[in-house]
């Protein structure tokens, strides 16, 4: 090798670069990692042979920039899928590590710990979203979306429909005469179809009130929904949300009122 004197930091930059290239090339099946690293070292020394010594970090940086980052030097197409995965976990930025970890935890964590695995995977996916370079990272979506979809679907389902269940069950129970407050009131003393109508009326009313509240929140503070359902609600505006809720609210209110009217008549 040529005798070139480097500053400590310049030497360390070169070694770090060559190590990163070697790690990637070791995973490649079509090239000789040692041969390429030696060629690259020779190239770097040849480029730096004319500069003032000890070679500065800036000079090394200039040469390494022309060589390109290690991930560009090595073609990942030559690697098997499992080598690419291991490499990304070891070397790639946090957004990739977290994305792989999220899918791994979703699969194996759920098998071992049930719902806890899904919750852990969800938080890893949200963390991956936070550190991703793009708001909705296209490359990682298949790794982080599964747990997000599962948790958002549950939150959405429960968050939207819980009043129907709670109020419907309460009014239905009261209608059967088991309620404590209206136990002896003959008005509630129905069964069969009357109970169904009571459940519908109670559920519909509960939903109407709850969704009215959601409508107000969604219209005035759409950012809450965007943050809560990232990245799927990134483009939601207060107006769009308001329209959606209004339509569903109108249909539910009609159902609730009709059921209540029929219930009173029975």
């Amino acid at each position: 090798m040529m005798t070139i004197e480097y500053s400590e930091i310049a030497q360390s930059s070169i070694e770090d670069y060559l190590k990163a290239v070697r790690d990637r090339l070791t995973a490649s099946e079509s090239v000789d990692a040692q041969e390429v690293v030696e060629d690259l070292r020779g190239h770097i020394e040849r480029e730096l042979s004319g500069v003032t010594q000890p070679v500065s970090e800036a000079d090394v940086k200039r040469v390494l920039e022309r060589l390109g980052p290690p991930e560009q030097v090595v073609d990942e197409g030559d690697m098997s899928w499992w080598r690419k995965t291991i490499l990304r976990l070891r070397r790639d930025p946090e957004d990739w590590r977290l994305a792989y970890l999220s899918l791994g935890v979703l699969i194996f964590g759920t098998l071992l710990a049930g719902p806890l695995g899904i919750i852990a995977s969800f938080f890893l996916s949200r963390a991956a979203l936070s550190v991703a370079k793009e708001p909705d990272p296209p490359a990682q979506k298949w790794l982080i979306y599964p747990s997000l979809i599962v948790v958002y679907a549950i939150i959405g389902f429960v968050g939207l429909l819980w009043p129907a269940y709670v109020l419907g069950a309460l009014v239905g129970e009261l209608n059967r005469g088991h309620g404590s407050l209206l136990y002896k009131d003959p008005f509630f003393d129905h069964d069969g179809f009357g109970t169904v109508l009571a459940v519908l009326a109670g559920g519909g009313t509960g939903l109407s009130v709850w969704w009215s509240l959601l409508w107000v929140i969604g219209r005035s503070r759409p950012v809450i929904l965007r943050v809560a359902f990232r990245p799927f609600a990134d483009n939601w505006t207060g107006r769009a949300f308001g329209k959606t809720v209004l339509v569903v609210w109108g249909l539910t209110a009609c159902l609730g009122v009709t059921a209540a009217l029929l219930w009173v008549k029975t």
Binding site: M1, S30, V36, L40, H43, R66, L67, V73, D75, D78
Partner: protein, 115 residues
């Protein structure tokens, strides 16, 4: 750059660079650094100079190139790359494909005369 275009350029660049490396070595044996210097002029193709070295290694493994060491007055022995007979044969075939493709693209001109 748009993702689709990036992928397209990457695929295009990969195949053409291998062709160019063989072509550069057609008339003379060169050592790695000189090959890179010659290809530097193709700025559209050589975005990162480091990409040339894995290509050289791959072509050598494929038996299209061979290497030998030669003493250098500036330091240690240098590793020179040269075309093997198989490499020469492959370069001829690649050139034929390249010519056919170029002509094909020219013949398939759009209505506005653009390639």
């Amino acid at each position: 750059m748009d993702d689709f275009l990036t992928n397209w350029v990457t695929q295009l660049r990969k195949g053409i660079l291998e062709f160019c490396v063989l072509k550069v070595l057609e008339d003379a044996s060169l050592y790695g650094y000189d090959i890179v210097r010659q290809l530097r002029t193709l700025e559209v193709l050589v975005i990162s100079e480091g990409t040339i070295y894995p290509i050289l290694s791959r072509l050598r493994r494929e038996g299209l190139l061979s290497t030998y060491l030669e003493e250098s007055p500036e330091g240690p022995a240098r590793k020179y790359y040269q075309l093997t007979n198989r490499g020469k044969d492959m370069l001829g075939k690649m050139r034929g494909v390249w010519t056919a493709m170029s002509q094909g693209i020219d013949n398939a001109r759009g209505t506005k005369g653009k390639p």
